[in-house]
Amino acid sequence: MSDSASQSAGASGASPTGASPAGGMRSGGGGERQVLSAFPPLDIPAIIRELAFTTLIASALVFPLLTLRTVDSVEGLYIESRWMVSFMAVALVVAGRLGLILLRYGKMIYAAVGGVVAILAAFFLPVPSLFEVILVAGGAILALRALVDLFLVVRQISPSARAEFRDRGGVWVRRVLPWAAGLAVVFAIVLPFMPFSSRYLIDVGVLILTYVLLGWGLNIIVGYAGLLDLGYVAFYAVGAYSYALLAYYFDFSFWICLPLAGLLSASFGLLLGFPVLRLRGDYFAIVTLGFGEIIRLILINWFRFTNGPDGISSIPRPSFFGIAEFARKPKSDLPSFHETFGLAFSSEHRLIFLYYLVLVLAALVAAFTLRVRNLPLGRAWEALREDDVASASLGISRTSIKLAAFGISATWGGIAGSFFATRQGFISPESFTFIESAIILSIVVLGGMGSLTGIACAAVLLIGLPEVFRELVEYRMVTFGGGLVLIMIWRPRGLLSFREPSIRLLDRRGRLRFAVAGRGVGESLCAGATGGATGDTTSGATSDTTSGATSEATSGTTGGVGR
């Protein structure tokens, strides 16, 4: 199983998404290519040793975990032994390893055939359904990888050509990404009115968008300020309970509570920030983890105020901007939505409203984040993440800048929390356990820290897919975990790990973005653009503006300066 995973890692290392100029990744890949171009001679004893070792490790893991299972039946609890299943699992692992070995020694044909056989076996052999999935996926990946390798060898594509191809793919991804993101936004806007849309789909959409919101909020701490926060759920909880309690005790409406929840959450963020920000690295992570748990324990134990583990129910639903209510017969003196707008009553109205509400909130957070990132504050966050000693020497105060990150991030968490409360109508401390923090953090890390698009993609993958595959009940969390592992292997720095600069001197076409006064500056820039940029730039983004665009760049630059 794990073999097929690492297998696929290699295969898609070659996929055209390697945009990041990460030296580590590229050199790792490069090493593999070296092996590929010169296959080692077949070394049977070494192969047998490797297979034996694999068998050993697989057995050690599989037998204790899979063999014995307790079964609850009418006669009582008894233990069932499943030797067959365990043997099959070990055989699968060994077969996967064999496929890898074949690839390593350049026996691509055998590997491809093996992959196809595995797929066929899934259909004809009586194996448990999970094994079927693994056989099909592993076999397909193995066969594909073998065919790709075969293609490369036959066409004699050198490692450097492959790297270049990957770079060009990266540039392409970068260029297409804004369009793709725009398209996704349009899709999200029209989703409720699409013919295939359903109550269930919109519900999943709301869930995903909530996590997108949380991910983007946490991104400010983790992605920009570079602090590992393991207790983000605390702010989420504070936001949710702020709304629930304010509504319960003071009858405040959702629209008043939303900003209040944000503020309360922010003040908790600052409160936590003051003592914690002097800590670094692991210590910081541990304290935030503790903070998350403390908030949860307070919510459980302060029974008289928060109703403890029983939670708070019948939290008021949001009204339509204080104009109308989404109910057949409103309890308050507001008119009902369907009557106000002359529609037939449908319970979907509220759901669609919630969907747009969270969409707008997410858009707000995105707009804010994108803007702040290009301001001195955002650059200071990143500078602190990159090197806090150098930042200090340039006059950046660690405490205040990080506190700002904490406060802003907590605000978004709180707003997401009160949205959660109003959507559910019921909250209890159960919803705010550590696993929630872990999920949000995985979304941020896997999406590519700092990349809003990447985080949104990761939220769709990690929240959406398990939700859609709910029928696979038992394997739902396996999908989640498998997704995590795969992304970590493929793209250790996240799905979209490249960083868009907060400011550029030259735009994509090579023109000056700023009216830089002073002739000298412009002239030497032109000279640089013609001479310098061609040879020595290594980043994907700049190298695409080299040869073709150079002459244009020069003229554009002079024009810009002349004005």
């Binding site: 301001l375 001195p376 504050l377 200071a380 500078a383």
Partner: protein, 317 residues
């Protein structure tokens, strides 16, 4: 106090008086006093572990000196005591900027961004601590354009303008060193502290660096404190040299005088108190010894026997 101050016309820019820094049992800087003048390059030299970087760290708020005073005179005539500030206050209150012995850029940020971070305080105020910046108010827009212009000016000075949009971490080593210097000047200091800017540069690059430092001294009218092991750089451009060894000042004066000073030569060749110096630092000490003695001979050739007097006094105190 009988400090040896060669040119007494103007009041000094920086007065370091009886500076000491103790780490547990180790006295890394031991009662060091010297002055640095505006518009001059003051070099601090000495063998490895002499305490040079520690002096910088005391001046820039990274260490709080055990005792002593570092007074910096600003252009308006006011005097600030550098040892009172935290490291992040030094840039604005003290107006001291520095580079680091091992380059410390923001590697994943672009060259231009690196220089904008250096103008953080100015931009932060112009953006009303982000509130005005979010709405892109005209005041912030102007400040931002001005900051870019300044950045371009200094990028041009260090010949990095064509690479403004590249990631700083992708630059070759020599360029990173120059970028770090440009970043420090962008912070608008009156005193610039450079910690071994020529380390790791090849001869032609260190020639360029020398030119750059000369130009900075002339154009910016700031004081430069320079820690450097490369004697060709030090002897070529310094106006004044302070020599540290084992934390204390052993000599001070104009380059020729320092190069001819027997105590300096001894410290570099490891003749006195030879125990750890000679054995532990064999290779690097030897290399530096060469540099020093080269300087010494050239200094001797230009004829400088006269100014030894001042240096010796400095040694006495």
């Amino acid at each position: 106090m009988s400090e040896a101050v060669p040119s007494l016309s103007a009041p000094p820019l920086l007065k370091v008086e009886h500076l000491s820094m103790r780490f547990g049992g180790l006295l890394a800087v031991d009662d060091v006093s010297f002055h640095a003048q505006d518009g001059e390059i003051t070099a601090i030299i000495g063998p490895n572990g002499a305490g040079k970087t520690t002096v910088f760290n005391c001046l820039t708020g990274f260490y709080r000196p055990t005792s002593g005073r570092c007074a910096l005179r600003h252009r308006d005539g006011s005097e600030v005591l550098l040892e009172r500030y935290e490291s992040y206050q030094i840039s604005r209150r003290g107006r001291v900027a520095r580079t680091f012995q091992n380059v410390r850029l923001f590697p994943r940020m672009t060259v231009l961004e690196n220089l904008l971070v250096a103008q953080h305080k100015m931009l932060m105020r112009a953006s009303w601590w982000t509130v005005g910046g979010i709405f892109n108010l005209p005041g912030y827009r102007r400040a931002s354009a001005y900051a870019v212009e300044r950045a371009c000016h200094y990028l041009e000075l260090v010949e990095l303008l064509p690479r403004a949009d590249d990631e700083a971490g992708e630059l070759p080593y020599g360029a990173q060193r120059r970028l770090e210097i440009a970043r420090a000047i962008c912070a608008d200091p009156v005193l610039l502290c450079l910690d071994e800017p020529a380390a790791g540069l090849n001869p032609s690059e260190s020639n360029e660096l020398r030119e750059l430092l000369r130009k900075l001294r002339e154009d910016e009218k700031i004081g430069i404190l320079l820690i450097e092991h490369d004697m060709s750089v030090v002897m070529g451009i310094s106006d004044h040299i302070v020599v540290l060894d084992h934390g204390s000042k052993i000599a001070e004066g104009v380059p020729q005088a320092v190069a001819a000073n027997p105590r300096v030569i001894a410290a570099y060749l490891g003749e006195e108190e030879s125990d750890e110096e000679a054995t532990g630092n064999g290779a690097s000490g030897g290399a530096k010894g060469n540099g020093a003695s080269n300087g010494a001979t050239s200094g001797g050739a230009t004829g400088s026997g006269a100014s030894n007097e001042a240096t010796d006094k400095g040694v006495e105190s």
